[in-house]
């Protein structure tokens, strides 16, 4: 189901180029520190065009830091990150968003005193997205009808599930080709959780690459293309979700803490 209007469709030129460049996001052996403490140790991962990749692992082992680093919110000590072929190390978050990569944080960071409409509008701040703002609005409201009912409501008055929808919607408004999403299901009821994953899958089906951070593999096994497992700041497993479930050690790690 392609819910986006004509203007947001990928142009033939982009398709041509992307057809050649299969890798959308490539993280190459990055080391990341918080002061003197090393959080990420030679982490490498890859998301191909249009893939839905999940990053699993216990809490506090660096998953969120990895996302923050990819999105330019945290410096890299060594290593490289390529997005659509060019390096994004050292770029400001503004430039990274402009190149099509958007981050939806665990803490959401919505603008509390602004309405749903204003939050969404600001999502389209970057110049690429401003021309397509109306189509983006349509897409978001078709995906999240509840948001459509609450256009004038202040973000601080939304429920947990609604704020998550708004956070995702705001990310979509940026006309991003790639979304890095950090634990969207945190704090939500099982019903809402399933809903959120379904919506993210829909977003992915529209050609947007997804890197999703999650704790529990069972929830995401059905629709992820590949998974990575991170422990102690290192990638300890890379493969499909089925492979992960077949691996005994992983099963302990992943299901033991669900």
């Amino acid at each position: 189901m392609d819910l986006r209007g004509k203007s947001c469709k990928i142009t033939w030129l982009e398709k041509f180029i992307w057809g050649r460049v299969k890798i959308m996001l490539e993280v190459q052996k990055i080391d990341v520190f918080y002061g003197e403490i090393q959080i990420l140790k030679e982490v490498s991962l890859r998301v191909n065009n249009g893939e839905f990749v999940v990053l699993l692992g216990p809490n506090g082992h660096g998953k969120s830091t990895l996302l923050k680093t990819i999105c330019g919110l945290h410096p890299v000590e060594s290593g490289n990150i390529n997005f659509c072929g060019s390096s994004i190390i050292g770029l400001s978050p503004q430039k990274i968003v402009a190149s099509g990569l958007i981050y939806v944080a665990e803490d959401r960071h919505l603008f509390p005193e602004m309405t749903v409409m204003e939050n969404l509008k600001l999502g389209a701040y970057n110049f690429r997205a401003r021309d397509k703002i109306d189509e983006s609005f349509d897409f978001v409201f078709q995906l999240f009808p509840r948001l459509g009912e609450r256009k004038k409501q202040l973000a601080s008055t939304l429920s947990g599930g609604e704020s998550q929808m708004l956070a995702l919607g705001r990310g979509i408004m940026s006309c991003a080709k790639f979304m890095a999403i950090d634990e969207p299901s945190l704090g939500l009821s099982p019903l809402l959780r399933a809903d959120v994953f379904e919506k993210i899958t829909l977003i992915n089906k529209n050609g947007i690459g997804i890197l999703l951070v999650e704790q529990n593999i069972e929830r995401v096994a059905a629709f992820s293309d590949r998974v990575y497992l991170m422990e102690d700041g290192k990638i300890v497993f890379a493969g499909t979700a089925d492979d992960a479930l077949k691996n005994k050690h992983l099963k302990e790690v992943l299901l033991g803490i669900s």
Partner: protein, 331 residues
Amino acid sequence: MRIDREIIILLVILSILAFSPLFFHDNPYVLHFLIMCLIWSSVVAAWDLIVGYAGIFSFGQLAFFTIGAYAAGMASLYLGLSPWLGILAGGLLAGLVGVLLGVACLNLKGVYMALVTFGLHLVLAPLLTLGRPIGTGGSRGLLGIPELELGGYCFSALEKVPWFYTILVISFLSFFFIFFITRSSYGLAFRSLRDAEPFARSLGVNGYKYKVVVFGISAFITGIIGAFYAFYVSSVSPRMLGLDTFLMVMIMLIIGGVGRFPRVLAGVLFISLLNEFLRPVEQFRSLIFGAVVIFSIILMPQGLIAFFENKFFQRKKNLAGGKKKLKDTQL
């Protein structure tokens, strides 16, 4: 209690100073310089206690100084109190105001604290000017404050050496007191409140009590010094509250390095020397001071000594091949 290297250096310096009148006894200029250095050292040390150790952005230090000075001067002039008692009175009154200020500011943080305490400073000048009827001497201040006496000997403005030894002793006592506090459980409480207030509170540290206490102590010490100053120059006036003086003392604190007693005293020396060098260009002094403040905060946020320390250690690190840092991304 740990006695670290810096304290020993300080004690050595003070001992050397104790002998200096032997060399300078006929050079009142140098003695005056040293006396002022010691005066500001104690004020800065007391200010460091409240800003550096307790993390409270109090800008009222000079107000306490002036209150101490006025109280002592007025007590001596009008009540005929012996000057030593006058000094004590100055300290006590300043301490009392400090405690009241602490109570008024119990729940304030950061900027708000700075603004209210600075408000005290700003409102004191008009109050003193308006206080002419109660004897504050209005905008001209009070002149002719009687001199200190010690066992029959009358201090005079001409003979600086007794003043010097007096302030040396007072400073030594202040430093000792402050050192003692910072290393005691009070000091620990102050620092815990500075670094992690909610956590400290959850452990039962009574933030309110310590806040009021540190205000009181800092104000008391500063008041004593202010009182001494009043006798030293035999006068008090609202001009003591000038912004340049305030900033001069503040920059002594910053350049010295907040929160590291006795390092902070290096700032006093540096700025006092700078002051002297700038005397020929008196009219540009404030201008240069303002610029110095800005530059030193940007370049040396941790203070003079720490700045040189870092440079020294950075060199060592580079030689050993430290971490390579890629271009910083904005945070």
